[in-house]
Amino acid sequence: MNETPLIPAGVKRCSKWQFSLWMAAATAVLLWGVYAMFLIWYKGLNQTNMNDAYGFALWIWADLAVIAVGGGAFFSGFLTYIVGKNELKNIINFAVIIGFICYSSALLILAIDIGQPLRGWFIFWHANVHSMLTEVAFCLSCYFAVLTIEFIPLILENPKLDKKPFWHHLGHNMHGIMAIFAATGVFLSFFHQGSLGGVAGVLYGRPFAFREHIFIWPFTFFLFTWSAAACGPCFTILVTKITEMITRKKLVKDSVIHLFAKISGWMIITYIIAKTIDTLYWAFVTAPGMGFTLMDFYASPTYNIGLLFAEIVICGFIPGLILITKRGRENSFLLMTAVILAVIGVCLNRWVMVLQVMAVPVLSFNEWYTYMPSWQEVATTVLPVAYGVIVISLAHRYLPVFPQEKELNPID
């Protein structure tokens, strides 16, 4: 098959054989995950190592982590369409694709985790209107629809599709009203990111997670939204840099990356200051009021105080400080270090707020609970990574994802 009409004009792509080999490797990993997924659907949740102590385990961590790092999509949409940072239009396509991958992965993981995916619609029809998780389900599904809508015009820009008048006009008209979809996405993201944090913060039976409230919202509600907006752009930058490394091409101008990194840096610094204040208040007021000291929560070899230090200082203040300084973000080694640390930091935060919450003993006669995921859980968690690689590879090959690619890589 001649691929040339499908590849955007003025850009160079690797040979079909190279691409096929790359895709075959990603597909092999994907199939491993799909096999584990069907095993779980066929045999049930006994294929996992979840138990009475760990109702939330690896999947929910992965879910919260991909939603947090996918926050780059809503935040770049907010900056581009609402704040008016037009320079970010050069990276927003890619941010949307990453967001699309993250949110479709989150929904897939939930479909596996609920055990009976055929009953997934119950949450909409028989909604528990007192649960933050209902709000998460509503906003997550609607926001995935928004991301799909944001992705469609890019797909319609494929040279072959763009030749058809209807698809051409549809893409053009959807572009025209994209600000409305972006604003809807920001509204939905604010609430579902927040409610995911709120779920932990309202657990008054679990003093490690419980936080004070502002009206009905615990502090964790605001911290989760804040951290997603802060670290989501770092993940977008990280994936852009990895894509540039693999394709051996510059795809986005440094000025765009530096602007995105600077905004992200200020968001990280303000977030981590708020997180530090929240931690201090919880450690010295909230937890003692419930009969616990700070070190009670870190008395395990696995969950020791080093985790808190890593989350706040190493993966919080350090990347934030690097990104807010001009010299820091313009040095490629420091920039990469900062974005990697920020992504690890937000994933670590979600790990702590899911797994450590389950591990900490609540009653004096309880021990620390342990949990090791089964291979089926690991395979289904790796599945979204392979899926993401496939979607990004296809999008990069056949769609004009990076508007600056032609200018940065002229073909002689």
Binding site: A127, V146, P153, P165, H168, L170, N173, M174, I177
Partner: protein, 55 residues
């Protein structure tokens, strides 16, 4: 869930939660309907030559 379902209650929780869902779905639905209908009109008006490539 709709107000005619047996589980429905006219309380603040149902109105806020379900109202928020319908509100978001309405915006998404109306936006897409507008884009599709306008594209059909644009096609029938033969605008493709003038606008081609203007994204």
């Amino acid at each position: 869930m709709f107000p005619f379902c047996f589980e429905w209650a006219w309380d603040i929780s149902h109105i806020v939660f379900m109202g928020g869902l319908w509100y978001a779905l309405s915006i998404i639905g109306a936006g897409m309907t507008f884009a599709i209908v306008k594209s059909i009109f644009d096609c029938s008006a033969g605008h493709d030559d003038q606008e081609h490539g203007h994204h």
